[in-house]
């Protein structure tokens, strides 16, 4: 949850634009962290109500450079968590986690891949190949976000 301390920090934003100027994602996506903050300060719009926060790659460049020391990346991540709790995962992520739950990996391996590795003398140790590892990954996914998928 976004804490009282976070809100205090968000309120100190001086709208200098360093965050978005430093944002590697924002250059190519709809993410504009400064505008998210602006709407928060000016209109009280909760950070969670900005769908663009899903474009944050959590590289922490904005946090590194923010002249007001606002822990922006952490706050965006918290906002995402809140968003997921309330509305569930957005479409693509939902698909990705479903795949993870079912197959233990985002890119399931095919038999030919397993054979290729065997031919090359490589061990089969990841959840892509081994049932026990797959079950472990599924359990982890189930445990943390099982109800949301």
């Amino acid at each position: 949850m976004i804490s009282r301390e976070d809100i205090k920090a968000l309120n100190t934003c001086i709208q200098c634009g360093t965050c978005i100027g430093s944002c590697y994602s924002g250059r190519f996506t709809a993410l504009n962290t400064r505008k998210i903050l602006m709407k928060f300060i000016a209109k009280g719009k909760p950070i969670e109500e900005n769908d663009a926060i899903w474009f944050c790659t959590s590289c922490y460049a904005c946090t590194e450079r923010c002249p007001r020391n606002i822990p922006l990346t952490d706050i965006l991540l918290k906002a995402r968590r809140q968003l997921v709790k309330e509305k569930g995962l957005p479409g693509r992520l939902d698909k990705a986690f479903k795949a993870l739950l079912k197959t233990g990996s985002l890119v399931p391996a095919k038999d030919e891949h397993a054979k290729l590795r065997e031919d090359l003398g490589l061990t089969l140790y990841t959840a892509q190949f081994r049932d026990d590892a797959r079950e472990e990954v599924s359990k982890i996914v189930e445990k943390h976000i099982g109800g949301l998928i």
């Binding site: 200098c16 634009g17 360093t18 100027g21 944002c23 504009n32 002249p67």
Partner: protein, 777 residues
């Protein structure tokens, strides 16, 4: 002791909630009170006259005035006492307005009971009052000014013109400071050195000023009135009596080239050099760190001025006052890695630009970019580099906005083809004629982009790519420039702080005695601040502040002596065991060992009372806030039980007492169970007092000081905090709930805060119940 009591109605301000007649009758019954009366307005002329007559008629030894806060009229009533032939310190006030009638408006019954307590306590203190003498000491008729920038120059001239001898100490070989290296100065854009050089020369030629260059302060001892300043003068290896300042002969043959600090390393100088053409004094200097000793200069110097035999020289001067005008240092832009300063050649700082634009600079005033000496066309200024940035300096450096506007304007003037952009967060053009200047700059076609540049990349040809968001359009851009100027902030130079014993704020600048009303004074008597030493200032403000510092120093020096309220701490030599604890707790060098006994320099004592409370032998006491007087007040309070629970608060004069007064002025209501005793500092609060109060049946004790880190005496409330924490542990072991003692910290403005703390504490103590049962167990 014959005590007279005067109870003021203050119109209805007091009389509306306190029963003044009843209080007067009550006063008459108190021991030693030989006279008591109520008055409509005790501070009015007729009221004052009535008091004077009564003192004479009834031969009073001491008077108690129950009226408003001592902050308001203590001095008034002391003067009244003097007019009646009474010692001014035989007056005690009971604050029944700000801290009673105004804060308990809806509880007249409780307010009257509380007023009785406050009055009884004041009378108890009055019984123990002693006549005190205002003290004074002789002041030496000289001043030391440390730092020869514009502030130091201004202060020195002001002082010297009044006839005071001034020693101006400068670490560089020339006076002039930063200002001497600037190009043109806002908002009038006059040439900086042209307006400064005449003052530099005036200082040098002034009969009352001794300029000591190439020198540093190594030690400061003594006290206000008689400081002794030890100065180390480094040799310049040039005989000042022979050097003609021609410089060309010697420096042209010098094989050593070093980046010139007077060009902020963007130009070069020789090992024998003049810092700037207008150097004052106009003598060459040899830089002993870089000279290789080839002696070529010695051979070419016709007047034979080179003198390698010179040795460092220690000078000691005596002064009544010291003015610290040590100025600022520029922010080191390398700390902002994303801007590449130090790596990218064409990223320069404000000060470097000043030298590039200056006719006496390395390019003789031509704006050439460092990488290829071409004239840049696209120039960017980045504001707030090292300012308004929690990662470097959180404060605003105040001057950089105007500096960049001014330089952008000059570039547009000299190079009409240049495209100049200023990247800013906010433009702060706060001074007179500044906003108007800003408008002129806008009119001149300087592009203003609101946004803080995120990062800079250097291209192979030395051009620079800036990534930024224009926050007004919301566009994120990569844009190329030929030259980037970082508008660097300014930082405090506080290296000398420990030598002087003055304090440094969290921002690195010297702390002033009061941010509004004492901007030139420090906590150490006789040491004053001029210019940027006490915070970022432009030239105008530096000069103004230097004038004030000089005035304050002159006031001290010219009066020939300086006076004090005699509240200072003193040692009872009989009782002193020589443990030297006082010398350790005193942060102001006032307590020292004189043989095996402690001694307190009354002139250096700041009157915080920390040593008084710390002395394990009770050998130290202080005037007007003596051990005996305060204990008498505590005992008097406990004589009657006029509130349940009964709470005592010790409040420091500078913050919490003022906060409680402000609660009164703004009519913030709080529980009438609290009675306040004033001390000058919470550091004076002796844990014994708290124990005494609890023993006598006071249910809870509050110690209210300044906010931590904001103590008027810097460390007093930290001492109090430590003692209270220790006391709480001791109480717990003794079976007394430590919750009965509480420390709170408030600034003078926190009326609501202190009222809330009082109320909460009363509730907490209500829950704990009366102290009696704990004392029995």
């Amino acid at each position: 002791m014959r005590i007279g009591v005067f109870i003021c109605h203050c119109g209805l301000n007091i009389a509306r909630s306190v029963d003044v007649e009843e209080l007067t009758e009550y006063a008459k019954k108190l021991d030693d009170v030989v006279f008591a009366t109520d008055m409509k307005y005790s501070c009015s002329d007729s009221g004052q006259e009535e008091i004077v007559q009564t003192i004479k008629e009834h031969k009073l030894d001491a008077i108690v005035i129950a009226a408003c806060s001592p902050k308001l009229h203590e001095i008034t009533f002391r003067k009244v006492a003097m007019r009646a032939g009474l010692n001014p310190y035989m007056v005690e006030l009971a604050n029944i307005r700000e801290q009673c009638s105004w804060v308990h408006q809806e509880k007249p019954y409780s307010a009257t009971l509380k007023a009785k307590d406050l009055l009884r306590m004041a009378v108890a203190k009055a019984r123990k009052l002693e006549a005190l003498k205002r003290r004074s000491i002789e002041v030496s008729k000289a001043a030391v000014v440390i730092g020869g920038g514009v502030a130091g120059i201004e202060a020195a001239l002001n002082l010297a013109d009044t006839g005071i001898k001034v020693y101006l100490i400068e670490k560089a070989p020339t006076i002039g400071g930063h200002m001497a290296t600037l190009n043109e100065v806002f908002p009038t854009n006059d040439c900086s050195i042209c307006i400064l050089a005449p003052k530099m020369s005036e200082v040098w030629n002034h009969d009352n000023i001794e300029v000591i260059t190439n020198a540093e302060v190594v030690e400061v001892s003594g006290r206000v009135g008689n400081f002794r300043v030890k100065v180390l003068r480094h040799p310049r290896y040039v005989d000042e009596s022979k050097c003609k300042g021609c410089i060309d002969d010697c420096s042209s043959v010098c094989p050593v080239e070093v980046p010139s600090e007077f060009d902020y390393t963007i130009g070069i100088r020789k090992a024998i050099y003049l810092p700037i053409p207008q150097s004052t004094p106009l003598y060459a200097a040899i830089d002993w760190e870089h000279c290789i000793g080839c002696q070529l200069c010695e051979k070419t110097c016709e007047p034979e001025a080179i003198s390698f035999d010179q040795k460092p020289e220690e000078i000691e001067v005596e002064a009544g006052a010291i003015i610290v005008a040590t100025g600022y240092k520029a922010f080191d832009a390398r700390k902002k890695e994303e801007y590449g300063y130090g790596e990218y050649k064409n990223v320069i700082t404000t000060l470097e630009l000043e030298r590039l634009l200056s006719a006496s600079g390395p390019t003789l005033g031509e704006l050439l970019r460092p990488s290829d000496s071409t004239i840049p066309k696209r120039i960017a200024f980045i504001q707030c580099v090292g300012s308004r940035d929690e990662k470097t300096n959180p404060y605003c450096s105040r001057v950089c906005c105007m500096v960049s506007l001014k330089n952008a304007f000059i570039i547009r003037e000299r190079y009409p083809d240049a495209e100049v952009t200023i990247f800013y967060i906010d433009i702060r053009a706060f001074g007179r004629m500044y906003e108007e200047f800003y408008k002129r700059v806008q009119e001149s076609g300087v592009r203003m982009i609101r946004g803080r540049v995120a990062e800079i990349w250097e291209k192979e040809d030395g051009d620079l790519v800036l990534t930024y968001e224009n926050t007004l359009t919301g566009e994120i851009n990569d844009e190329e420039f030929d030259l980037v100027v970082l508008s660097i902030g300014i930082e405090g130079t506080n290296e000398i702080a420990t030598k002087l014993g003055i304090s440094v704020g969290s921002d690195g600048f010297f702390e002033v005695a009061h941010p509004k009303l004492k901007p030139a004074e420090t906590d150490v008597k006789g040491i004053f601040l001029a210019g940027a030493a006490s915070g970022p200032k432009d030239i105008q403000d530096s000069v103004a502040s230097a004038g004030l510092a000089a005035m304050k120093a002159a006031q001290l020096i010219l009066s020939g002596q300086t006076e004090f309220d005699p509240y200072n701490a003193y040692v009872d030599v009989e009782k002193c065991t020589g443990c030297a604890i006082c010398t350790k707790v005193c942060k102001f060098n006032a307590a020292f060992m004189d043989g095996k006994k402690a001694k307190i320099d009354a002139n250096a004592c700041v009157m915080c009372g920390v040593c008084v409370a710390a002395c394990p032998a009770d050998a130290i006491d202080m005037g007007f806030f003596s051990e005996e007087q305060i204990k008498a007040m505590i005992e008097a309070l406990a004589e009657e039980r006029n509130a349940d629970p009964l709470i005592l608060a010790f409040a420091c004069w500078y913050c919490s007492y003022s906060a409680a007064d402000l609660a009164g002025t703004t009519k913030v209501q709080y529980s009438p169970n609290v009675r306040i005793i004033r001390t000058l500092c919470t550091g004076r609060v002796d844990p014994e007092w708290i124990l005494l109060a609890l023993e006598k049946g006071v249910d809870g004790v509050i110690v209210a000081g300044c906010r931590l880190g904001e103590c008027h005496f810097k460390y007093g409330n930290f001492a109090a905090k430590e003692r209270i924490e220790a006391l709480k542990k001791a109480l717990e072991e003794a079976g007394v709930n430590p919750g009965r003692v509480k420390a709170i910290w408030h600034s003078a403005g926190e009326a609501q805060g202190i009222a809330k703390d009082f109320d909460e504490f009363v509730e907490e103590i209500k829950r704990l119940g009366n102290i009696e049962k704990e004392l029995i167990s």
